[in-house]
Symmetry: C2
Subunit: 241 residues, 2 copies
């Protein structure tokens, strides 16, 4: 049975957030669907390991921010590859409050405010069914970011708690050793005048690919404070593809 066929299911890109005791919590989600038309309800699923899951069950209200193709990919890295348990995910993103819950505002296609109606336990994940009680629209004509766009254009990978993790990340080893073989990179710099000498470097945290052929800057020539545009980690966590 070939589970890769599941990769043909289409999704958008969303950040789900809530707030408790003056702390903001949020996580990246791709499975949002409108369920009913009148007085609309939506459904979305979140892994039980995510701290935001726990917080939504407690607070019973959450916001949904709909990412566009122009949203800074670091939003995906921050909300998809770190935990609200030990990171203030809102520290470096643009946000404001709507009915006292945080909503992201960096090139979003809109925000929803939702009231939890029901939690359905599905093994490793919960499906949250909720009423849309308020919305925020933006004037800009932005295109919603799809999961396909994220994988094919931004070259991102699925976090380990995502339902699609197994199908998508088949070729990534779980406990990959971080190799920082500068001697090899230096050797290649001598041949960089031919296209075939361009190398690719993959972020071991989020899977983002730095492609020298596209960026026109050698990876070894990037400044020391350069960080992964997806998840924000340093150069030392990249390995040659």
């Amino acid at each position: 049975m070939d589970f890769k066929v599941l990769n043909n299911i289409s999704y958008g890109m969303y950040v789900v957030a809530t707030r408790d005791n003056d702390n903001n919590f949020g996580c990246f989600v791709n499975t949002v669907s409108q369920i009913t038309a009148e007085n609309p309800t939506i459904a979305l699923s979140i892994n039980k390991e995510n701290y935001t899951n726990e917080m939504i069950k407690k607070i019973k209200r959450f916001s949904v921010s709909i990412l566009s193709e122009k949203t800074n990919p670091s939003v995906i890295g921050t909300f998809g590859f770190f935990s609200s348990r030990d990171t203030d995910k809102f520290a470096n993103v643009k946000y404001e409050y709507m009915q006292d819950l945080p909503i992201l505002t960096d090139n979003m296609c809109g925000n929803l405010m939702c009231e939890l109606l029901e939690v359905v336990d599905v093994e490793t994940h919960d499906i949250f069914i909720a009423r849309v009680i308020d919305t925020k629209s933006y004037n800009e004509q932005l295109t919603p970011m799809t999961y396909k766009y994220y994988h094919e254009v931004i070259k991102g990978k699925a976090p380990k708690t995502a339902p699609t993790y197994k199908n998508l990340n088949e070729n990534i080893e779980e406990n990959e050793t971080v190799i920082n073989d500068n001697s090899k990179i230096q050797f290649e710099t001598e041949q960089i005048n031919t296209t075939s000498a361009y190398k690719k470097y993959r972020c071991t945290i989020c899977g983002h690919i730095y492609d020298e052929a596209v960026e026109k800057v050698r990876f070894c020539d990037l400044p020391d404070d350069w960080v992964c545009p997806i998840c924000g980690v340093g150069k030392e966590l990249f390995v040659e593809e």
Copy 2:
């Protein structure tokens, strides 16, 4: 509150089908999501008025066919705008059987065979949670059709039982009178040499737009047996936009 922001949620295009007493049943669905990764489960929602909803509850197994951009749009018309109660939706589409249930085969991105685990009642709709017990992949590199592609490229509309019907079809009157004003069309034929004289005709069943400027054939010059490429109805059910 602006519910149009809900149109920024991204979906794919699917036909869900089952079989009972030598009869095949199926309907169009846009809300399919993978929920868990190991031994995968999926969730999808179907309006309670759809006959296929009733049949899935009875049979407890169903197939999902993932439409591609190359799937004939008439599949969407047939499965989205007619009822399995009075139409054999499989009469004019390419299909075969997988574990004795029908699956569509016309330029599909794949098929899933699913076993129903749970039904969650959400007002007008049910969410079906199911285990993926078998899959079928195709070699072709087809792009999954998205709801956005359907609306923007194929110019399709949402069926009345769709969760997105209200947000998307705002300008369509529910009980629109069918006007077949040939005199008016004939008058326009005299001016067809200027682009501005091109007219658009809208299918009153599925909302498909026939655009003379794109097709380069006047609507009145189409053969009598021409049918709507989306839902298969005749010319008499089109009105001038």
